[in-house]
Subunit: 328 residues, 2 copies
């Protein structure tokens, strides 16, 4: 039985989660047979209650992180001896990008060369503690309902975009290399430039699909423009956007720039009257914005859009992987 | 002296038009010297009054057609013996795509192979009379002011898009070939598919530029979606969009589909109250929609957007090249 955000969900035998559970159960059974686990309950039914406090179906990898958590927790429950890489391979069955979410910090997903994809695995580039000054400001756009799911969209792009092959063959491998170096040397300028270029190119091949896939909206594009204007005005790269399969932006900044960036966002994409009174409009669960924070007023000379185009703002440092927070 | 839409314009010596005039003047002088023209006035100053009744700076090739007209008219004035191809080469100096506008009907612009671009010329594929049932419905989007000019934008794309090379090397040549065949055989399905795919890919490489160039807006994307939905609902390709360097759509249809398409557009992008009373909102200068036109009511099941997102609609058949309409 699966309880998802309080609602019971019927899990088909063919569902990705059911398949994962079946695999883990048979692994537990093996351990029990070999006498490595004394309690024999591998065949018992499991009841999963899951809750997601992150915007779902908004192209913010909520299903990837959620699936990674489920796989991690089930492996704990069944007391399996799998390492993170094995869990990552398991998670990849549920959602491609879930393979990355098992690791914390900076993670790359290697394409692999084998036909069956078995060497397409995620590898940690650096732990979450590696670059403590790096912060992500997530701008959640109001209306974020996806037309096209990310897995479905990717399949259409692979099948129909004539530019996709060129991207994979001649752009991605070199960029992966450069990005890894930029992260290891904490080179924000290179990290940010590559992040923006690759986000744009991902959306370019989506648009080159047939029929075209468009995840970004005018509000997304307003954020793109604001980032470039602010960087130009600052005389150096201070913010870098990336958009996944949805209109919401993840903007990377050094911690010292966050307060000023939030004031730039407020000036270009102001909150509505109701949002002004909402203390949760900007949430900072990990205390990136230490009080007392002097609010710097910044402007990039762009006209204000109508209020309320953003739904909320999340400020987060580079996170860790899944973790047990309490055992009952 | 240049009078542009009633306003005098100072023409720099280095301006593209001034250079064209200088070249034509010296050609006239040569003809005069050789006694081929009796009246000797090559050195006289010229006064040009020009008016453009088409939306300008909106990515609808108004400057290309305008420049082509200027070159054509000046060649008439100077009584030069240049053929359309020579005029086309001249026009290309002013605006790349102006080279196409000298010809009527269906025109291709060959890339050429020479370093100096001298073999990059426009060639007529078929005259305007070739496919009389083909109609273009131009949806002019409200707010159509371009951020980035098309020439400037193209230069940035060539310099910074890593996908641009792949497009030019492996996609465009084959598509040009297929498109020419589709036009010659009046194969609307192939013509329309290629038109949409190539429009999307052009905007994809714009987005892949750095900083990214975005010409389309949410209204453009709404038109894209409406076209695909309507085609799907009709069970065949009836409409095909293309977007140039701006948010406005050119939608190609067979003449018999135009009335129904206009009713689809009205249902998805309705006019404002003021626009309902404006008889010029839909203009049909060449009488494509012959009265009495039974307005077919069609729906694609998409929700109506807020009224007034379109500025106006133009219905035109495939046009002819520049022409002398009166001599004074």
């Amino acid at each position: 039985l699966l309880i998802l955000n309080g609602e019971p969900v019927v899990l088909g035998k063919e569902s990705k989660l059911a398949k994962c559970i079946a695999l883990m159960r048979s692994e537990r059974k093996r351990l029990e047979k070999e006498g490595k686990r004394k309690e024999k309950w591998a065949d018992s039914r499991v009841r999963i209650e899951t809750e997601n406090n992150f915007p779902t179906a908004a192209g913010l990898a909520s299903s990837a992180s959620g699936f990674a958590c489920l796989v991690y927790t089930l492996a704990k429950l069944y007391e399996l001896e799998w390492d993170t890489t094995q869990l990552s391979v398991m998670a990849r069955q549920g959602s491609g990008s879930a393979c990355r979410s098992l690791f914390g910090g900076f993670v790359k997903w290697e394409m692999g060369k084998l036909e069956d994809g078995s060497d397409s695995v995620a590898v940690q580039v650096a732990p979450s503690t590696h670059w403590p000054s790096l912060v992500a400001v997530i701008l959640v756009v109001n209306d974020a309902k996806k037309d096209v799911g990310s897995t479905e969209g990717m399949q259409l792009t692979v099948a129909s975009s004539t530019l996709f092959k060129a991207r994979i063959a001649s752009v991605v491998p070199e960029r992966m290399e450069q990005m890894e170096q930029a992260i290891l040397s904490k080179d924000f300028e290179t990290f940010g430039t590559l992040t923006m270029q690759d986000s744009n190119q991902f959306h370019a091949v989506c648009l080159d699909s047939y029929p075209p896939i468009v995840y970004m909206t005018d509000v997304s594009r307003c954020i793109v423009k604001t980032v470039h204007e602010w960087n130009a005005k600052s005389g150096r790269l201070r913010a870098a956007y990336t958009f996944d399969a949805g209109p919401n932006a993840v903007v990377y900044l050094e911690r010292e720039s966050v307060a000023e960036w939030l004031s730039v966002v407020e000036s270009v994409l102001p909150r509505s009257r109701e949002q002004s009174e909402d203390v949760n409009y900007v949430s900072d669960p990990c205390g990136v914005l230490q009080a007392p924070c002097v609010e710097e007023v910044a402007s990039v000379g762009l006209a204000s859009a109508s209020p309320g185009l953003l739904k909320r703002i999340l400020v987060v440092p580079i996170g860790d992987g899944p973790r047990v927070v309490s055992e009952e």
